[in-house]
Each structure stands twice: as structure tokens, then as C-alpha cells.
């Protein structure tokens, strides 16, 4: 199962907050505070880092859990790049660096949520 890009709506409903209220907590000003929150929840807008951290504070859940789909995508992308980097030939091989890259490359295949 591929996780949804985010679980913001689930968490908001758990706390029985409205989109307007969450918009206010995020520091959005103006008439339609809930519009940005709505777009985040409908996956039509990727929130900024500041907004993502604010969501973590509001809902009390880590960002990787709130944005599970984005996190998984980032994890897979990094793992693919780490694999590529590991195959590159370097003049002075660094054992620690190599171990870190192997660990990163394996991460995507080990994580059960990616299956």
C-alpha cells in the first residue's frame, strides 16, 4: 500500500478543528484562512517547511507521519541516489562514507511501508 501524500485531514478531524481554525494557528492572515489548509489537505499544494513544522506542533505528530507519502517518496529518491553514489569510483575510498551510503541504499527495501 502506498501511503497518502498527507494525513492532515485525518488529524484535523481527530482534534475536531475547522480548516479556518487551523489556518489561524498556522498564522495565515486574511479573509479565507481555511483555503490554504484545504489545498494542503486535498494534495493540491505542498506546504512550506515552516507550515509542515507548524502542522507537527498543532497535531502533535511527527512530520514524517503527517506527510507519509512525501516522506516515502523522499526516502526512495535518496536511496536510489545513494545506490548510484556507491557505484561511483573514488580515488580515496572512505569506509565510513561507504557504510553510510550502503545503509541509505538499503533503507528503502527494509522499510515495510514501502512494500
Amino acid at each position: 500500500m502506498k501511503p497518502l501524500p498527507n494525513y492532515l485531514q485525518t488529524q484535523r478531524k481527530r482534534l475536531s478543528l475547522s480548516q479556518e481554525e487551523v489556518g489561524f494557528l498556522l498564522g495565515i492572515t486574511g479573509m479565507h484562512k481555511g483555503d490554504k489548509v484545504c489545498r494542503d489537505e486535498k494534495f493540491t499544494r505542498a506546504p512550506s517547511l515552516q507550515d509542515a513544522l507548524a502542522y507537527q506542533v498543532i497535531y502533535g505528530r511527527p512530520v514524517r507521519e503527517l506527510f507519509a507519502g512525501f516522506y516515502q517518496q523522499a526516502e526512495q529518491d535518496v536511496a536510489a541516489r545513494a545506490k548510484l553514489m556507491n557505484f561511483r569510483k573514488v580515488r580515496k575510498p572512505d569506509l565510513r562514507k561507504q557504510q553510510a551510503l550502503i545503509h541509505l541504499a538499503q533503507k528503502a527495501s527494509v522499510n515495510p511501508s514501502n512494500q
Partner: protein, 166 residues
């Protein structure tokens, strides 16, 4: 029976007023729930909503009530809608699981007999944070059924989908 807990399911309960829906990831992972009251062109609009839910939540399995079970009576319109939803699921390459009302009652109430209110209360006790506030007051003989009851019909299907005790 699907034993893998890593699946997302969409349970839809088509009813006379509209439909109730619930999305779950595992037995305790309630992602979304709600009901849609549809006034006109009920089948067309209900089907459009189901299509929207499938597109948005990308479920692996669609859970529907078994409208052709011997213990179930449904209006011809609901049966037609049910057939259309099954066809839509097949078009979207989704697995379809049919669950009868008796199965829901047997698993949630421990008996094949029981009221919808008792079923809703059992579900509200299971998911107090999400559902307790949506629990309608007990229906009196002169009252119509509360539209919020659709949510509990869909939730019942979604909960019973998962193997018991897992």
C-alpha cells in the same frame, strides 16, 4: 480473505438518502469517514462521489454491503447503484468484498440480532475520538433515521472487513 494489514480499504454504504463512507488502513487506522446526502439524481451523483473517493484515497479494496444476501432487503434503485459501483470498482481494478448485515452484527454485537443504534454505540465505543461526536440520539418511533447513521453503516463494513482479533 485478505490477511495483509498493509491495505487501504474504502467502505461504502449506499442508502436511501445518499451514502456513507469510511477509509481505513488496518483495524485501528481510520483515515476518513463521513456521509453524503444526495437530493436529486441519486444514483448518478452517488456514483460520482464513489469515483471521487476512489481517485482521492486510492484504496486497494472496496467494501460494500451484500445487497443480494438472503437476510437483506434493498430497494431496486439501491441494487442498481450497487451493481454500478461494483462495475466501477472492476474498471478501477479494485478488489470488491461484500459483507452482509448479519456478519456485521455477529462480529460487532456478538449476536445476529441487534439494532442499528446498538451497532452505532459499539462503533462509537471502539473509535471514541472520531465517532463519539457523530453518534445520533436514539431514534423515537415518530422520527426518521438520522443521516449520520450512514457513517456507522459504512464503518461497520470497514471494521468487519479486517480479520477478527488482528
Amino acid at each position: 480473505m485478505i490477511k495483509n494489514k498493509n491495505v487501504r480499504i474504502l467502505a461504502v454504504a449506499p442508502l436511501s438518502r445518499g451514502l456513507g463512507y469510511a477509509v481505513m488502513e488496518g483495524l485501528d487506522g481510520l483515515v476518513a469517514h463521513g456521509n453524503k446526502v444526495i437530493i436529486r439524481d441519486k444514483n448518478v451523483r452517488a456514483l460520482a462521489w464513489v469515483e471521487k473517493f476512489i481517485h482521492f484515497y486510492q484504496p486497494d479494496v472496496l467494501v460494500l454491503p451484500d445487497v443480494n444476501a438472503p437476510d437483506t432487503r434493498r430497494a431496486p434503485r439501491i441494487k442498481t447503484l450497487h451493481r454500478k459501483i461494483v462495475a466501477l470498482a472492476k474498471k478501477s481494478q479494485l478488489k470488491v468484498r461484500l459483507i452482509s448485515v448479519t456478519q456485521v452484527r455477529a462480529q460487532l454485537l456478538g449476536s445476529v440480532k441487534g439494532t442499528k443504534q446498538a451497532l452505532a454505540e459499539a462503533l462509537a465505543a471502539k473509535f471514541p475520538v472520531e465517532l463519539a461526536s457523530r453518534l445520533p440520539p436514539k431514534r423515537r418511533p415518530w422520527m426518521s433515521e438520522d443521516p449520520r447513521m450512514d457513517i456507522f453503516d459504512a464503518m461497520g463494513l470497514a471494521v468487519v472487513f479486517w480479520p477478527k482479533g488482528k
